[in-house]
């Protein structure tokens, strides 16, 4: 299948008082038509920045796209003007955000917020847009949509707001939906419903989805492929199966081990990853995970490993996958 989106060697920095924060440092990935991928990592790893770069929503006063390209259907989004981007945002690529409580305009009716994009991109009349808004509300399974479109966000519960938010983002049937931590702010039961809804809509509308989350559980349910990010770089990528059962990066393994599981021995404490990610003002020269890694080797201190194919789609950036490391390990065990 063809790639609808290709991110190539993306570098994004922020200018702050303290200096330049290199938030994204050479990220590569692609998204196929109708596919759902997940970008996983802890806070500050650059996953949200990557997502917002695609939409170019980062504040222009501080954010700088240092190098790289983001190809949407072959066109570089980073080269587009603000006006050209406006025709893509909401129309070709939709986005939903983490906190449904604050992502909707509190002084505007839900229906109007859904209609705005339709009237702008599809040039619908007010009444047609209104009909579409009602249909969208139906589609995201909101009860009494005719009544609900005339209500304000504060009259909606958290889960309902996120449904409305999805309706806003999908109103123009965009080809890609970027969901930035769409379930983090919600109750667990509501989380499952929202994920179910997104999966359902993905099939109905044939939308490609980029799901950004720190929750590996959410990823397992939703996506085909997973991208694990750490300190502004992709450290491992592969199918859900590759990542969950054949992980080749100690960071991914650590993430998996730190999830509490029902079948776990309860007397055993959780297994967190100690320490904090490196300071991105001055990213380390070597592997960014070096300082927290239990399997660190001499080489890791000063040399940053590149993404290497493990097999098929599975890639990882770790020196342990290098033949010489395996040879050394083999010798050690003898």
């Amino acid at each position: 299948m063809e790639n609808i989106l290709e991110v190539k060697d993306l570098h994004v920095s922020f200018q702050t008082y303290g200096g330049e924060v290199k938030a994204v440092r050479g990220v590569n990935f692609d998204l196929k038509k109708g596919e759902a991928i997940g970008i996983v990592g802890e806070s500050g790893c650059g996953k949200s920045v990557t997502a917002q770069s695609i939409m170019q929503l980062l504040p222009t006063s501080v954010a700088r796209y240092k190098s790289g390209s983001i190809l949407f259907e072959g066109q570089n989004l980073l080269a587009k003007t603000e006006r050209q981007m406006q025709d893509i945002r909401g129309n070709e690529i939709g986005m939903i955000f983490q906190d449904p409580m604050t992502s909707l305009n509190p002084t505007m009716k839900i229906g109007d917020q859904i209609m705005e994009g339709l009237m702008k991109h599809q040039k619908l009349s007010r009444s047609d847009a209104h009909k579409r808004a009602v249909r969208m509300m139906e589609l995201v399974a909101v009860n009494q949509p005719e009544k609900r479109v005339n209500q304000y966000p504060h009259e909606f519960s958290g889960g309902m707001r996120q449904r409305a938010m999805i309706a806003v983002a999908l109103a123009c049937h965009p080809k890609i939906l970027i969901a930035d931590e769409p379930t983090t702010a919600l109750d667990v039961t509501v989380q499952a419903q929202i994920l179910e809804l997104m999966k359902d809509l993905q099939n109905k509308l044939d939308t490609s989805i980029i799901l950004i989350t720190h929750d590996l559980g959410v990823v397992a349910e939703m996506v085909n492929r997973v991208i694990v990010m750490y300190a502004g770089q992709v450290v491992e990528t592969g199918t859900v199966d590759d990542i969950f059962y054949h992980s080749k990066h100690p960071y991914t393994k650590g993430l998996l081990k730190s999830i509490p599981r029902l079948d776990m021995d309860r007397s055993r404490p959780l297994d967190p990853i100690f320490g904090t990610p490196p300071d991105l003002f001055t990213p380390p020269e070597g592997c960014p995970f070096f300082a927290r890694c239990n399997s660190a080797m001499q080489i890791c201190k000063n040399h940053n490993p590149l993404l290497e194919t493990v097999n098929g789609q599975h890639q990882a950036a770790c020196w342990m996958n290098h033949p010489m490391s395996q040879a050394a390990a083999a010798k050690e065990s003898k």
Binding site: T16, Y17, G18, F274, G275, T276, P278, D279, F281, T282, F290, A291, R292, S295, A296, M297, Q298, I299, C300, K301, H303, P305, L306, E308, W319, H322, M324, S325, A327, A328
Partner: protein, 309 residues
Amino acid sequence: MDPKIKLSPELFQPYYDNDKDAEKISRPSISYWVDAWRRLKQNKLAMIGLVIIAILLILAIIGPYLNGFTYYEQDFSKKNLPPNMEHWFGTDSAGRDLFTRAWYGARISLFIGIMAATFDFIMGIIYGGFSGLKGGRIDTFMMRVAEILYSVPYLLMVILLMVVFGAGLWTMILAMTITGWIPMARLVRGQVLQLKEQEYVQAAHTMGAGSWWILKKHLIPNTMGPILVNITLTVPTAIFAEATLSFLGLGIPAPMASWGTMTSDALAAFLIGNVYQLFIPAFLISLTMFGFNVLGDGLRDALDPRLRK
């Protein structure tokens, strides 16, 4: 992979350095007040305000003694003089030295401003703190009372009180405090209520922090910010109110001088062309207002930890 690296088996030996220090936090943590001061220093406008206030305070203290005249001594042979070598700011219609009067007026005006702010602060802490700590019905009742008093027009009440009690320094301060403490009380009460609920305070308790630690690390930094800003902005409000009252003829009685009474006195001279008599107090009032306002704004920005970068 970087082709320049010479890969050797040694590089793939485990790294056993205990200095890896994964728990290290890369940048030193900065204490709240140091950080606030650092940010205030970066704000040029606020620093200008601070310097202006400092200079005005110093001159208010030493200014009246600098050229040997007194603020009340009249010399009718030297009326309405423009600024000259002897009278640096000139003289007024009663032949009084305006330089001395300007800094004497600074004392009165600044004194009124600072006193009003101090009393507002004390009243506000007592009333607002009590209301917030008690909570419940008492709190509701006390805040209703405050709300009602707050709806009473400020300057109107001050004027009425001045009419009733007669003009004077302390009546003016009293009049301003009677009407001025409510915003401070509301602020303090809001802060207290918020703090009682704050999860970080509870979190600190559960983590075994002592009361003094909580007070020092959490309560004071989080409450003092808005209060300090409010104090800073009360001073110019009071100075302004004093000037307005004096202008309406309800100010400090002669021969005492404040910037307000000087402005009011100078109005007649202004209309016959002695511009400088009005200019001096008007400029000083504006300068003071400017200084306190920009400092207050700067403090607000500096003390708001949400802006911490």
